[in-house]
Structure formats: C-alpha cells, structure tokens
C-alpha cells in the first residue's frame, strides 16, 4: 500500500501532520506499539527537517506486511557532507540557534537509532532524499 503526503517548507504550524497520519495507519494495521513509536519519532524528525531546511518535499510511505518504507524527497539546499551530518553532535547551526535549543546535531543520528535502515542521498543546491525502513518482526529491538 502506498500513501503520499506533500510538505511545505517553512510551514512549522503544520509540521507533524504526516507523522500523525502515518501513525494512525500503523495502528490500524496493528503494528507493535514500540515500532510505531520508533517509526513516528524518526519520521517526525525527518518531516520537520524538510519544513526547516527545504522549500518543499514529498513523503512517500510504502507499507508491506513485514515492513514500512518511507522515502522523503525534498527540493532544498542539500547536505554537503552526509557522513559528517550523521555524526552525533555535528551541527551547522549558529551559536544563536543552538542557544535556543535547536541544532544539537542529533537529527540524523536520532533517525538512525529509531530505524532499522536509513539511507541519505543529497545533491547540494538541489535537494535531499532520505530513505528509511523499519521491520515489524522484532519488537524486542531496543532503542539505541
């Protein structure tokens, strides 16, 4: 089953609506609550990333009996060094932004710890594609 959601860059007041919709669907098909939570936490983070950094994006959700695959495609500035962005604590945010409690450099690492698979591709000046998968079969897997 496939669902698609559009995300507008800069629309902070609506950030999270895709996460909520996906959460409702996962609950309806009876995915284990702990997996729902991990997936939604990662998706929320990714969704807010689009809102915060990109101009617009599309979130595509593929549901199978054994897994959920989410692809987030955005048009935006892109990430110059993905490997660095995956490092805990690395952030491009200015000290002012950090002082407000944002830009702690935990975005991608947090997504990674909540998903079984995470792949990030980016072209500077064009946009970013985040692909993430969670499997439904092992609810005992603990959060990193």
């Amino acid at each position: 089953m496939n669902f698609e959601y559009k995300v507008e860059g800069g629309d902070f007041s609506n950030a999270g609506s895709t996460s909520s919709a996906v959460k409702r669907i996962m609950k309806q098909i009876g995915v284990d609550p702990s997996i729902v939570k991990r997936t939604v936490v990662a998706l929320y983070e990714a969704e807010v990333n689009i809102v915060a950094h990109a101009y617009r994006g599309v979130i595509s959700v593929d549901l199978d009996e054994d897994k959920i695959r989410i692809v987030l495609d955005d048009e935006g500035p892109g990430i110059p060094d993905i490997a660095q962005a995956m490092v805990k604590g690395y952030s491009t945010a200015s000290p002012e932004v950090r002082e407000m409690g944002f830009g702690a450099g935990m975005g991608l690492p947090n997504m990674q710890s909540n998903m079984d698979e995470l792949k990030v591709d980016s072209v500077v000046g064009k946009g970013t594609r985040v692909e993430m998968v969670n499997y439904f079969s092992h609810p005992e897997q603990t959060q990193a």
Partner: protein, 459 residues
C-alpha cells in the same frame, strides 16, 4: 476471547429514545446505534462518562453497590473524596456534613486524599529516576489510563505504576484499625466515587492489582442522602471528629486541575484536563514532539474531579469552594500532622501495581496482512462517503461506518446518501431503504404516530 474491561456505565433501553447523542460525543467511538438503541463496544469504552452527560433522558446509569451492605460490617468505614463537602452550599458546615454521615451508620470517616503525601513522595522519586520513561504520566485518572491503553499504547511504558490514593488510604485504614484491635472481617471500606471511571477501576483496577475497597457508593447518591438528613435535622451534631484528621493543603488540592504538579520540586510538569485536550496532547507526545517534560497530570474531566459526572454541583463552584477550604489558616501546609505517615514504609512497600497491557482498539485485524487489506478497502469506501458524519447510519462518522463494513458489522447501504443515490438509479426500492432504516433506528422512529410520543419535554 480476550477479557474485556469492566464498565460502570449501563444503558437503560426502556428509557432510551434512540437519539444517538451518546454516539456523537464518545471520544473513542465506542457506541453505535442498532435496533433503535446504543450498542457499546466494551473494549473501546474508557468509562469517561461523556455519554452519561450527553443523554437527554437519563437513560444511562452508573452501577453502585447496595447501600444496605454497609450494615453487613460491624465497622463500616467511609472513604470520602475531599471534594464531597464542596458539593454543598457554603452555609452548610463541614461539621454538619460529617455528623450526617455518622448518622447514616458509618463508624469512621476518612478522606481519600489522606495518602497523597506518600504518593507525592513516590512521584518525586520516579521523576528523578532517569531509567523511567519520561514524561512520567500520572495514573490517577483511570479514564486516562484506559485512553492510553486503547488509543496510545506506545505510551504505556510512561505510566506511573502506583496505586491511586483510594487504595493507599484503604491499605492504611485496614492496617491501622487491625493494629488497634478491630477484627479484619469487621472492617468494610466504602469508597464514594465522583465518576464512573473510578468505579470501573475498582472492579478491574489499573495494573490488575486487587482493589482495597469493599464497596462503592455514588457521590450524588450520598449527596442526596446526606442533604436530606441535614434538611430534616434528624441528626446529632457531633464534636468529636475522631478519625477525621485534617489533611494537608496539597491533599485538598490534589484532585483539582494542577493538584499533582503544584508541589513538584522543579523541572517541567504539565496539567491538562478534559479528555479531548488530553488526546490532543498525547498525540504530540507520541510523535516525540514534546521534549524535556518530566511529568504529565492528565484528567478526563474538565476541572478534573470537580467535574466528575457524579458530582451534583457545578464544577466551577466546587473547585472554588475546595480552593477556599485549602486556603484556610487551619489547614496545615506541612503534612507532618498526618498520622498516616507513621505507616509510610508499609504503604510504600505496597504502592506499586502490575503491568498495564495495551488494548489497541484501532487495529482492524489480528493478522497484519488481513488488516492491511481491510484498511485499503475501508479507505476506498470512506472516500465514496459524504463526510457529513451525520450518524444516520448509526455510526459516529463516515470513517467509523467504513471500518464497521470491512469488519462485517455493517452494510455500506446504511448510509442515507448511498440509499438516496441507489433509489435514484433504481438500485434500491423505498421499501428496502425503510427496512434498512428500521434496522438501525427501530420501528418507532419510522412511525408517524409513535414519533410524536418521543418528544423530549423541554424546548
């Protein structure tokens, strides 16, 4: 078959006029109409009592134990929420209210919130413990616990697994009276309930740990009984308040909105009342969108327990009187006077309850593949429905009807819009359409003469 929740709310079909107001207000979509009357889905109902308040003809009642059973015990004890006296007009004194309760036959009166000082200490400890999932969610309101079980199962690890004040105080009473030489079998503890959820929680407690009370009395029932005794002046004003020791200010405010968090040392603690507000906020917590919050006090009723459905008085006035009482100089700020604290260690040893199980109501099937096919079908059906949520099909919303259809519980032709379209295209006869309506609403609503008799006696 999975065991279902015990419910305190019951429908009287003989009084019910089949208006479906209950269906409309239910926060978990637990009620639909069939054969002219509401049908309750027991695994969805959280005993919040919204339906009870919405019913225009009082066809929903709340079970309670027979008052006479208090006389089966040589030592009947009443466990009274501190808001009870706030139900009365201010000119009726606390002393008169208590005297009237003694007059009814109770040997001892205790206020439920007497144990709050112990509970408060435990909450502070759990908040500090970083191994516990944060935000820690209060289990004080049993309707909220059930809401989390059915709608937000992923937040179950956040629940604070401790007994409610009524249980902790009961443990104290039983132990204290036994220590004073009262035979255990003589002690009967009767809890006065401000709402249906508390009653349901006694019959099937949070964490499935045995409740400590022997019976339940509905607060409005006792209110009427006590008021009558006072009005008729048939009681003796008593001076001794023997076991009625004043409780601390914190305890008096506990069941009001903000009562749990007023006194918490530091950090971020939120108090939210009203079930829809609670749902909205939990949705955010579940998304991981709420960071750095330590404790959540969540209550199903507006104005918390002052708004309990068994409170006869206006909730704003009750809250006002309660706060006034708490502000009196005679109320001790310090809980040191509380004799219950001599049993603190014993109570803390017995304060924890067992695991709370998820009871997800949302899933369409136990088998994930089947659930997915059903959901796909439900999406398709729903996209063809008018989204008016008129309830004429008997269900709360177009989506609820779609889900019921894919689960084989309803017929998509129950939708009045679908019927009209089918009639227009000669796919359904008027007779068939009426037959479907009768299945949902019973015969009365489709009979010109009986419909008149159903008018409610107010405009």
């Amino acid at each position: 078959m999975e065991e279902t929740f015990h419910h305190a709310l019951k429908f009287k079909t003989d009084l019910c006029i089949g208006c479906s107001h209950c269906t409309g207000v239910c926060p978990t979509g637990a009620i639909h109409v069939e054969g002219g009357h509401p049908v309750l889905e027991p695994n969805r109902c959280i005993d919040c009592g919204h339906c009870y308040q919405a019913c225009p003809v009082n066809a929903i009642y709340i079970e309670q134990d027979d008052f006479q059973t208090i006389y089966n015990y040589a030592c009947p004890v009443i466990l009274l929420p501190s808001t009870f006296s706030a139900q009365f007009p201010e000119k009726i004194s606390q002393r008169a209210i208590l005297s009237a309760i003694y007059h009814l036959g109770f040997k001892y009166i205790y206020e439920v919130e007497k144990s709050v000082d112990v509970l408060h200490e435990v909450i502070c400890e759990r908040i500090k413990d970083r191994d516990v999932e944060h935000p820690v969610i209060s289990t004080f309101c049993p309707a909220v616990v059930r809401l989390i079980q059915v709608k937000f199962p992923s937040l179950i690890p956040n629940l604070l697994l401790v007994r409610p004040p009524m249980d902790i105080t009961s443990l104290y009473i039983r132990k204290n009276l036994t220590d004073r030489g009262v035979p255990p079998e003589d002690i009967g503890i009767f809890y006065v309930a401000p709402c249906a959820a508390k009653i349901a929680a006694i019959k099937s407690p949070v964490g499935e740990t045995k409740a400590q009370t022997d019976g339940v009395i509905n607060m409005n029932y006792l209110y009427n009984k006590v008021f009558r005794v006072i009005k008729q002046g048939e009681y003796q004003l008593r001076d001794d308040e023997f076991d009625f020791h004043p409780i601390s200010r914190r305890s008096l405010l506990w069941t009001m909105t903000g009562g749990e968090i007023n006194d918490l040392p530091q950090g971020r603690n939120l108090a939210i009342d009203d079930i829809d507000n609670v749902s909205e906020f939990l949705e955010k917590v579940e998304n991981g969108d709420v960071e750095g919050v330590d404790y959540l006090e969540l209550r199903a009723c507006d104005e918390s327990c002052a708004g309990g459905i068994l409170c006869g008085s206006n909730r704003f006035l009750v809250a006002e009187r309660q706060k006034k009482r708490a502000a009196q100089k005679s109320v001790k700020v310090s809980p040191k006077e509380n004799r219950l604290l001599t049993y603190k260690e014993y109570l803390k040893d017995n304060i924890s309850v067992g695991k709370v199980e998820p009871r997800s109501m949302d899933k369409l099937d136990e088998d994930i593949g089947v659930a997915m096919r059903k959901m796909k079908k439900s999406f398709e059906l729903n996209s063809n429905l008018p989204q008016v949520d008129c309830r004429i099909c008997g269900y709360q919303s177009c989506k609820a009807l779609s889900d019921a259809v894919v689960n084989g519980q309803a017929d998509i032709r129950q939708c009045i819009f679908v019927q009209r379209i089918m009639e227009l295209t000669d796919k359904m006869s008027t007779a068939e359409s009426i037959r479907l309506q009768r299945n949902i609403w019973g015969d009365q609503k489709l009979d010109k003469d009986s419909l008149k008799g159903m008018a409610i006696n107010e405009l």
